[in-house]
C-alpha cells in the first residue's frame, strides 16, 4: 500500500488527470503520518520538475526521507545519472524515470549499471487508445510531460523494453483514471503484469478499498498506489489493508499507535 505525494512548488497537490491542482499539505508531514499509519512505501513525484527548482526539491526529498522510516521512491525531472545520484544521496531508495526514458532509453541501462536495477523504477503514464475510425490499434499509448504529450509508443511493449534495459520495477499510471477515484484500469495492469517479470505498482484511479483488491487480485499488481483518497481521509491505510487481507492478499499489518 503506497501513498503518493505529488509535489509542486514544495507542497503536496492533487488534481484530476494531472491538472486542476489543489494543495494537500507539507510533504514531510504527510510522509510521517502515512508511515505511522502503515504505508509500506512512499512515492514522491515532483510534478513541476523545473530545473531551477532542483535545489529546493532535493531539500524537500531529504526532509521527507528523514521523516519516515519506510522506503521512498522519488521521481520527476530526473534526466541523468547525476540527477539520480543526487536524489539517492538526498535519501531516496528508488528513483522513478519517466519522460527522460522516452527521450533517452539507454539512461535506464546506465542507471541500472551504476546503481543496481533494484533502484531503477520505470514510471509509465498510459492512456487508452480511442479508435474513432475503427482501425486504431487497441491498447494503451505512453504519454509524457504529465500527460500533455503523446509518444506513439505502446505501453505494454514499452514496459517490456524498459525492463529489458534494466528497470527493476514498473510504476504504471493510467492517465485516464488518475485522480478520478473511478477504479484502476485493471485491463492495463493485467497486460503489463503479463509482459514483465519485475514488480508492477498500479496507479491511477483508486477510489475504494475494493478498487485496490481488484488491482491486485484481478490485475495481478504487486502493490497499489493512491493519493487523494488518503490526502482527503476518504479511506484509511488500515481499512485498505483490512480489505486486502479479507480478500486473501498478504499484507503487512502495523499496530497503529494509540
Amino acid at each position: 500500500m503506497i501513498p503518493c505525494l505529488d509535489v509542486a512548488d514544495g507542497r503536496v497537490v492533487k488534481g484530476t488527470r494531472f491538472i486542476d491542482l489543489s494543495d494537500e499539505g507539507d510533504p514531510p508531514t504527510l510522509a510521517a503520518r502515512y508511515a505511522e499509519a502503515g504505508a509500506d512505501e512512499l512515492v514522491f513525484l515532483d510534478i513541476t520538475a523545473a530545473p531551477e527548482a532542483r535545489g529546493t526539491l532535493l531539500d524537500i526529498v531529504e526532509r521527507t526521507a528523514r521523516s519516515a522510516f519506510v522506503p521512498l521512491t522519488v521521481g520527476g525531472g530526473v534526466r541523468s545519472t547525476a540527477d539520480i545520484k543526487a536524489v539517492l544521496r538526498a535519501g531516496a531508495d528508488k528513483v522513478a524515470i519517466n519522460t527522460a526514458a522516452v527521450r533517452d532509453p539507454a539512461l535506464i541501462r546506465r542507471c541500472a549499471r551504476m546503481f543496481g536495477r533494484q533502484c531503477v523504477v520505470a514510471s509509465i503514464d498510459a492512456r487508452g487508445r480511442v479508435g474513432t475510425s475503427g482501425d486504431a490499434p487497441p491498447g494503451w499509448e505512453v504519454v509524457v510531460r504529465g500527460g500533455r504529450e503523446a509518444t506513439g509508443l505502446d505501453a505494454v511493449a514499452w514496459a517490456r523494453r524498459l525492463v529489458e534495459l534494466g528497470a527493476g520495477e514498473v510504476l504504471l499510471t493510467s492517465i485516464d483514471r488518475d485522480g478520478t477515484r473511478g477504479g484502476y484500469d485493471v485491463e492495463l495492469i493485467r497486460a503489463v503484469v503479463a509482459a514483465v517479470d519485475v514488480p508492477v505498482v498500479a496507479s491511477g484511479g483508486a477510489g475504494t478499498p475494493a478498487d485496490m483488491v481488484a488491482a491486485i487480485v484481478e490485475g495481478g499488481a504487486d502493490a497499489v498506489l493512491a493519493a487523494s483518497i488518503f490526502h482527503r481521509d476518504l479511506h484509511s491505510i488500515g481499512s485498505v489493508k483490512e480489505a486486502l487481507a479479507a480478500a486473501g492478499v498478504p499484507v503487512r499489518r502495523v499496530p497503529v499507535a494509540a
Binding site: A35, A65, F69, D93, G116, E169
Partner: protein, 204 residues
C-alpha cells in the same frame, strides 16, 4: 559510516541518530580511526562499489579497523561486500567472511522488493525484542552464500531461502534495510548501538 557514493546514507544516518549513535561520514581511511562501528551501507552493484572503496583506500581501512577491534555492520550491499567474490559481476570483495554472493536461489521474481519475514535461526543480541518473523524491507537481487552456515542468524524466503542476517564475532551483516523497516528496524539498530558502544548507549 563509509561514504563511497553508493546511495542512501541519509536515511540510515538519521535512523542511527534516532537510536542514540553519533554518525560520522568516512570518505578517507583516517576517518575510520577510533570508530566503535564501521557501517557499510549500499545500494547497487558490487564491482563499482569495490572500485570506489579501493580508489579511496577504504577497503584496506575497513579490514584494518575490524582487525583493530571495531564492529562491522553491513547493510544490504554492505553485507554482500563482506564475502570473497560476487557471482553478480565477478567482483573481488572484502573477504572478511568466507563465501560468495549469488543471485537469490529459486526466486520467482527479481529483484526481491518489498516486505518479508526475518525468520530467526538462532538467538543473537541484534534481534533482542524483535519478534520471530518480523517484517523487514528488502530491495536486492543477490544474497550471501557463507561457507560456514553457523554464522546465519536469520533467514528469509523468496523462492529459496537465503541468509538475511549473518554474524561472526564483531562482523555483522543484514540483507534488509533496517532504516526502512519501521519500528522493528529501529530496534535492530538500537541493539547494534547497545552491542558495539554500550557506554554511548547507556548515556543515550
Amino acid at each position: 559510516m563509509v561514504d563511497y557514493g553508493a546511495g542512501n546514507l541519509v536515511s540510515i544516518q538519521h535512523a542511527l541518530s534516532r537510536v542514540g549513535a553519533t554518525v560520522h561520514e568516512a570518505r578517507r581511511p583516517a576517518d575510520l580511526v577510533g570508530a566503535d562501528v564501521v557501517v557499510v551501507p549500499g545500494v547497487g552493484a558490487s564491482r563499482p562499489a569495490m572500485a570506489q572503496l579501493r580508489r579511496h583506500g577504504l577497503d584496506r581501512a575497513i579490514t584494518d579497523a575490524v582487525e583493530d577491534g571495531a564492529w562491522y555492520f553491513g547493510v544490504c550491499l554492505g553485507l554482500q561486500l563482506l564475502f570473497e567474490r560476487s557471482e553478480e559481476d565477478g567482483a573481488e570483495m572484502l573477504g572478511l567472511l568466507q563465501g560468495s554472493v549469488q543471485r537469490v536461489p529459486d526466486s520467482p521474481r527479481l529483484p526481491h522488493i518489498g516486505w518479508n519475514a526475518l525468520e530467526r535461526v538462532r538467538d543473537h543480541p541484534l534481534l533482542d525484542g524483535v519478534a520471530d518473523g518480523a517484517p523487514a524491507y528488502f530491495v536486492h537481487s543477490f544474497v550471501a552464500a557463507p561457507d560456514d552456515r553457523s554464522m546465519v542468524v536469520a533467514e528469509t524466503e523468496h523462492g529459496g531461502r537465503f541468509p538475511s542476517i549473518v554474524a561472526s564475532g564483531r562482523v555483522l551483516g543484514i540483507q534488509c534495510h533496517p532504516e526502512r523497516s519501521g519500528s522493528d528496524g529501529l530496534r535492530i539498530l538500537a541493539n547494534l548501538v547497545r552491542l558495539a558502544a554500550p557506554d554511548a548507549s547507556a548515556a543515550g
